[in-house]
Symmetry: C2
Subunit: 144 residues, 2 copies
Amino acid sequence: MSISSRFSVGIHILALIAINKNERSTSEFLAGSVNTNPAVIRKIMGMLKTAGLVNVQPGIAGAELAKDLSAITLFDVYKAVNVVQEKELFSIHDNPNPECPVGKNIQSTIEPLFIKAQSAMEKVLNSLTLEDVVKDINDKENIC
Amino acid sequence: MSISSRFSVGIHILALIAINKNERSTSEFLAGSVNTNPAVIRKIMGMLKTAGLVNVQPGIAGAELAKDLSAITLFDVYKAVNVVQEKELFSIHDNPNPECPVGKNIQSTIEPLFIKAQSAMEKVLNSLTLEDVVKDINDKENIC
DNA sequence: TTTAAATGTAATTATTATGGTTACAAGTAA
DNA sequence: TTACTTGTAACCATAATAATTACATTTAAA
């Protein structure tokens, strides 16, 4: 199983808003680039707005970044779109048998190990910003 | 979304086989500790067997570890039970618009970043062994 | 050789998350 | 007033999970 593509779509949206900053980035425009339905974009945009990453207003066409590109990490986006809950990248089976030494202790033994693994992954996401993403795209396009 | 509990169940099974090494660990016995159905245990056991982590035979009651506890990493178990495909911890939306500079490049830009994050997580799993798990359980139980 | 017990595996089910789609109320600007 | 946009809710198809039942196959012991 994989982590929802809401995350990659969120990155796509934010990068496109930045690159398209001289034009209005409506949900229809963004949907055309992502290749999905405008309603899907608006739902994700709502999450990005709640997280304080974008400014959008009902009735007003277009979204804008609420922060500088370099101030938005991939971890910020990841948290914003709610693809993985805190400490729950790995699920642990519940109700193991408390009368068995393994069943009684397996959860408390495993949990810190799983958290350590999840944290290592999230630390990488926290070290990357949207600026890195946009720069790479611009390099590939020879723009700017 | 979370990674399947097959992973934590796999760890549970292997740890219990090790701790119960003087008795036969049948799928029914293991299921009693995990608190699930014996058929679920047998399915996971089949994966662990394919990965060379346990020895089981049709008709013969009980499973045994195929390697030393210290020679089985959590990454081995993770791969064995097939909870995350290689390079696919994060899914990336497909068919972005190739006529848009962002749509054209987003996949190739994001993929290495996602792989880097996934690798960091897997590296942690690779640094932990079943011996660590069993020792912790034994410590908590004051056994040996 | 028969019997009992265990593994291997397929089929079925309920539950949940995802991603897409349609529809429409509400807000804004021309 | 009109046209356009955002925000949301409702609904659907699909896929993965985990549990359950059932049964063929294999082994060992009576």
